[in-house]
Structures are given as structure tokens and as C-alpha cells.
Amino acid sequence: MSVLEDPISFEHYSTDKFFDEIIDANGRPRPDAAPLVEVINQLPGGDLLRRQAAIERSLHRMGITFTVYGDSSGTEKIMPFDIVPRIIGSMLWKHIEAGLKQRIKALNLFLDDIYHDQQILNDNIVPRDLIENATTFLKPCIGLKPPRGVWCHVTGTDLIRDADGAVFVLEDNLRVPSGVSYVLQNRAVMKRNFPQIFAASKVRPINDYPAKLYQMLRWLAPDHVENPTVAVLTPGMYNSAYYEHSFLAHQMGVELVEGRDLMVDDGFVYMRTTDGPQRVDVIYRRVDDTFIDPAVFRGDSVLGVKGLMDVYRRGNVALANAPGTGVADDKVVYAYVPDMIRYYMNEEAIIPNVKTYICQRDDDRKYVLEHIGELVVKAANESGGYGMLIGPHSTVEQQAEFADKIKKDPRNFIAQPTLSLSRMPTVVDGHLEGRHVDLRPYILHGKDIWILPGGLTRVALKKGSLVVNSSQGGGSKDTWVVAEPGQSVVDVHDQSDGVS
């Protein structure tokens, strides 16, 4: 029997003393995962791998690929996908939902405050110099009144679970969080290539995301507009998230525009069409805020539209997310979110932060420099797993290099303990092995706050690795939230998941 034909089962799977999302410490499936584990254990030899291969082919055909750097022969790779879905029980999901709603409310109040009265700075809850020196704090946004009072309409918050399974917030992404298209496509290919596993578990559907996004965007339109034109603004096809921009525009049935397709005339924004200029009322911008208007922010930007901010201030166009939200992405500001929740809402954070050392504080910096080999050090404004040191996996030289950077620019660094991230069974070389995962749920803040059940589960495919970013060897998984009685469940015959 060839390796490919060996049945893949949980028989020899070991959690290796890590917290596993679907197998408990005694090696038994957690209750919500039991039907799934059963189905996988019963599959004939080779079946799981065949399905995994079929899914990979689907993704390739759909062109959800990236070009391999330095390869001129046109080879393209898909984002790695693992077929074993992550399962989130309904109780845990309720906890996560409540925590995220609370957090997004507080962040929204914070943004409105710092761009207006700055009470939280006056009361010394958040240090004034931290905000005023943040490159992401945009002075032109002071006094802005975003339509309907919402600053961050689309948020992706990174969550992790520790060795005991407790949930923590690792990072907030309030500028232009990406990845939701992978969530929808992962589900679509799973439904198409592995329909029978959905029958065993009651999984909440996610295919209404584009509709919810569209409703939210429409709600933002200026009052005088009866039938608003919504557009998605992309930096263009060479942006790494271009596929997602195109996908969302397609799913919502709205135009995907680039900066060069737009122009400002007499206080309104127009797109250039074959019938001449057509007014645009709502822009879901996937261009970073400092690039959206060269007249106000970066003058060298060719991705934005000159005069856009002026139209925005006049209330003649809505932008989602509002410009200026990036300041809440700052990893030092992150450390103060539990204080914001206390300050604005008089509540304790439902989902705590990971313990964070702020290098600007003398005590914290001293501790960080002494324990750099045990900590994860992060730059305040980098993403994608860059600008980061994972102490236990680093060399002495790398540690010295980071220690140097911290001493030179303490404001720009935080450190956190190296957490033992939870793991998920993942297909590796024809059998199942545990790999570390995180979770990025997507939150839409319109009239109400709505959270897509599940989100993007990213998995670090390298053995022992804690870095889940796709640019650094990470893959993704379908993520299931188990339905409670009365909630709708996935219909495998419903083809509206966004792929043909």
C-alpha cells in the first residue's frame, strides 16, 4: 500500500501537551468536534488527501494565487489550505462576540474622543505624547465628523488561545483588514469538495457577509442621496490583497475603482465612465489612509484622489473606514484598550489583552532588555509578521540587534510573553500533526455591530512555528461556528458562497 492510500485518522494523533482546538488532553474529541473526527476516521484510504488535492485545484483554477518571486516561467502558487476545519463551540463564540462588540465600541469612542475633545488624554489615561507622536495620528482628521458617527466600519481583530484555552486579543486591525475573501472561498471549496462533513455538524453559514457589508456601506450614504452609488477603492492589481478587493466588489455588485478612475469636481466625487462622469456616494477604501488624498496626506500618492478629503468633510461622500483609524492599530496604543473600555464604558474587558510590556516605560524596558530571549518583541506599526523578534526562536545576534533598536526608539516597541498558542490537527506528509493557529474574526459596524460567525483561522505550517502570516509560511483553514437551536445552518446545496 502506498503512503497516499493510508487512511488518515486521529488514532495516532497526539496533542503533545498543547491546548488543542478539537482534541482534549485525554486524546478524546471535544464534544462539538466528535462528529467531524468520526467522519474523518471512517474515510477510506487516500480519500482525505484526494479531497485536499481537489480543493487545491479549485483554488488554482479560481486564480487565488500569487506569483512565485523570481520565477519567470509563470509558476503560481495558491495560499496553502488545510482541509481539517477548526470548530468553535457556540458558548465560546458567544463569549468572543460579546468581547469583540465591547472592544469595537470602546475603540470607536476612543477615536472620536482623540480627534475631538481628547478627554482620555486630558485625564491621563492614555499618555498624550503617545498619541500626538504616533505617525498614524492624522492631524487633518482632527474635528472630523464621520457619517453616522462611526469611525471603524470593518475591523479584523486577531485572537489567540493560550495553553489553557483562554482567549486573548493579540492585535487590532482597523485600517484595511484583509482576509475575509479567504474565509468565504475556503467555505465554498469545502462545501463543494467535502459536502458530507457538513451534515455531521451544525455549522453556521457565512455567505451573507457581502450582503451585510453592502447594507452597511449603503447606510453610510449622505442623506440627500436616494439610490447611492457604492464603490470599492483598490490600489490596483499588483496589491497583494487585490483578489479580495475584486471579489468583494463582484459579490456586492459594485464598481471596483482605482484612484485614476475617480475625480473631484465642485464638491463631489465622480468616476470616469463610458457615459461621462458618474457621482460616487460611498467608497469602501482599501487604500491606506495616508494615500487617499495627495492634497492632504502624502503628496506623492498616485493611489488616491486629489480633493477627496474636502468632499468627505462636506459630507458629500462617505468613506469606510474613516481616515485616521490607523492610530488604534498602533501596538503601543493596543496596550491601553482595556483602560479605554474601563474609561468609556465602565466595564472590564471581556476578552483580555496579552500581557504587554511598553518599552517607553522605564520598568518595562528594563524587564524587556533583561528577558529578550523569552519575549516576543514587536514594532508598533509593522504588520505581516515583519519587524518582530520571537525570543526563544532567535539568535543572540538578532536579540542584540533588537535590544539596540529598543534603546534607540523605545516608543516604537512593545514586548509580550511567548505564548503557547493553541493547535489544530493539520495534514502534514500524509498524516495529522498539531500546528499552531490564531483567529481573525471580522466585525462590521453599521447601524448595529455584526460579527461574521468564525473568521479566518491561520495556521503556522512549519513545525513548532508561531508565525501564521501567509507571507511567512502560514496557511488557512475553514472555520466553523456551531449553531445553536434556532440558528440557521450551512446548506451544502446553496451555491451562493461566492464562487461558481
Binding site: H60, R61, M62, G63, S72, S73, G74, E76, G236, M237, Y242, S246, F247, A249, H250, E255, L256, V257, E258, R260, D261, M263, V264, D265, Y270, M271, R272, T273, T274, D275, G276, P277, V499, S500
Partner: protein
């Protein structure tokens, strides 16, 4: 529709049609070579001459044999008119407007691009060329069907249709021009077996052999010229392409085009009248090459007017 999107859809369709026609060019030569008596000098050379890119070819290849010509025309990444490069451009255009075409259409373009790329890397395209070029044609037909059956026949679809038809009219006229030129010296041997074979393969290259036979039975020079240029119903004839491009343009402009929007319509109408008011005998008397040349020039003008009217939009 966004001007940029209209332009990309138009060029996406043109590049696909161009790739299909290149595959047809090669296929017809493959058939000819198989049918030809031994000892004909460099039977692949006329194909290179037809591209007008002899210089580029001669720089990279020593002789024009089956392998070098097929490699050049299908897989050469340095050659901007190769099938691979054309499909790459088609796919880049499609990628930049994926939200404006159906998912099925994008996937088909993507599949076709990867098919050609893989065949180039594995050498399979050259090993079984008949299958390979045949498959390209099939893939292109499939795409045309998908666009037709899964896209609203809205402005975007009409821009794609115009791109396809203008490119096709141009290529059909080129196929005739080139072959007519090489067949000219044998005009005295009309009616002999070899001549019939040559003209038949010419008809095959526009998938017109059966349609032609049903109508005319005998292969006659003027009838073939008429079939290529003036046939009202055959979908690859120049006349058919011009007629249908005009209809699509009318659908785009709503028929009420004024100013700069009306130029392309006027030019297409003039071309239509010209094709309507002539016949094969007059064309041959006037000079086929001169006639085809001026048709190509007019098609170019139409393309430029489209760019002017729809793709370059006003600056605020």
C-alpha cells in the same frame, strides 16, 4: 461602465481572439505540411513572413522548421505576439476587471493561460502539436460560449464583442492576404489537386470549409475571396464581423451618439457600405492586397476612435 474597465474588457477579448488566430495560422500550416509532397523548401517560412516579425524570429532561430516556428509562435516569452504572451496580456486585463466579467469567464481564461504555460514547460505542445493547437481553439470557443451564456449582454459584453470582432476581421483578412500571395504564382494550375488542397486548408483555417462546400461545392478563387471578405452569414468573414461590431457599437452608444462618440460608428458604417457595394471580381481587379490593406487600415481607425471616445475619459 468605467472607462478603464471598458478598455480592459475590449483588449481582453482582442488578445484572446489573437491567440486563437495564431493557433489557427499554425494549424493550417501543420495540415499543409502533412499534405505536401516532399522536398518543398522551408514550408514553415511563409508563416513567419505572415507575422511580419521575420527580424525577431531570425535573431533567435537559425532555421524555420516545425519546432522553431511553433516554439516562436506559441511559447516564446521574448516575442510579444506569441500565444503565451497574448494570453498573459488577456489574463492581466481580465484580472484587472474580474469583478466585471463572470467568475466562469475568468476561470476559463485562467485555465487556458495555465494550459498553454504547462504545455510550453513540459514540451507537450511541440510533441503533439495537432492536439495542442486544437485544444487552444476549443478553449477559446469555450470562453466565447461562457461570455455569451453567463454575462449580461450589457455594455461590457458589447465591448468584448467589439474587441473580438475587430480583431477577427483583421486576422481573417490577413490569412487570406498571405495565402493568396503565396498561391498567386500557381494561378494557372487552378483545378489541380494541390491547389485544391491549399485553398481547402485556407478555408479550414477559418473553420469555413464545410460552410463553403455546402454553398459552392467547387473551390474557385473568386468564391473563396467572396467567402472570406463579403459573406453575410459566416461568423469569421470580414463582412460579418463588421456588421456585428456595428450592432454592438450601436448598443453601447444607444444609437444616439453625438460628437466624438459618433466617429467610430461613422467609420464602421462607411466600411460596411464599401463591403456591401463591391464583389470579389472587382476586388481582384483592384488588387486583393491593396483592398485588404485598406480594410485593415479602416479597422485600425475604428479602434482608435473607440479609444478616443470611450477609453480616454475627460479630465476634471
Amino acid at each position: 461602465m468605467l472607462s478603464r474597465v471598458a478598455e480592459s474588457i475590449y483588449w481582453m477579448a482582442r488578445y484572446i481572439e489573437r491567440a486563437e488566430n495564431t493557433a489557427r495560422f499554425v494549424e493550417v500550416t501543420l495540415n499543409l505540411v502533412l499534405d505536401q509532397p516532399m522536398g518543398v523548401d522551408e514550408p514553415w517560412r511563409p508563416l513567419i513572413n505572415a507575422t511580419g516579425d521575420d527580424d525577431i524570429f531570425n535573431k533567435s532561430y537559425k532555421i524555420a522548421d516545425a519546432e522553431s516556428v511553433m516554439t516562436f509562435m506559441a511559447f516564446d516569452r521574448e516575442y510579444s505576439n506569441s500565444i503565451t504572451r497574448g494570453l498573459h496580456s488577456a489574463r492581466e486585463n481580465a484580472r484587472s476587471i474580474r469583478e466585471s466579467i463572470s467568475s466562469e469567464a475568468f476561470e476559463q481564461i485562467n485555465t487556458l493561460y495555465h494550459f498553454v504555460n504547462t504545455a510550453g514547460r513540459s514540451g507537450q505542445g511541440i510533441d503533439s502539436p495537432t492536439d495542442f493547437f486544437d485544444s487552444i481553439r476549443r478553449h477559446c470557443h469555450l470562453l466565447t460560449g461562457i461570455l455569451d451564456a453567463t454575462m449580461s449582454h450589457d455594455i461590457g459584453w458589447h465591448f468584448a464583442n467589439m474587441g473580438r470582432l475587430i480583431e477577427r476581421a483583421d486576422k481573417t483578412s490577413r490569412i487570406l492576404d498571405v495565402k493568396y500571395f503565396t498561391l498567386l504564382p500557381t494561378v494557372e494550375s487552378v483545378g489541380t489537386a494541390i491547389d485544391d488542397l491549399q485553398w481547402s486548408s485556407l478555408l479550414f483555417s477559418i473553420s469555413g470549409f464545410e460552410a463553403y462546400r455546402r454553398q459552392h461545392h467547387m473551390i474557385l478563387t473568386d468564391k473563396v475571396v467572396d467567402f472570406f471578405l463579403l459573406h453575410k452569414q459566416f461568423p469569421r468573414s470580414v463582412r460579418f464581423c463588421v456588421d456585428n461590431a456595428a450592432s454592438s457599437l450601436q448598443a453601447i452608444s444607444g444609437g444616439a451618439a453625438e460628437g466624438r462618440h459618433s466617429t467610430a460608428a461613422r467609420q464602421l458604417e462607411a466600411l460596411r457600405i464599401r463591403l456591401d457595394s463591391t464583389d470579389a471580381t472587382s476586388i481582384l481587379r483592384y488588387g486583393l492586397h491593396q483592398f485588404v490593406d485598406s480594410v485593415q487600415g479602416e479597422l485600425n481607425d475604428v479602434g482608435n476612435s473607440l479609444t478616443e471616445a470611450y477609453f480616454l475619459s475627460p479630465v476634471a
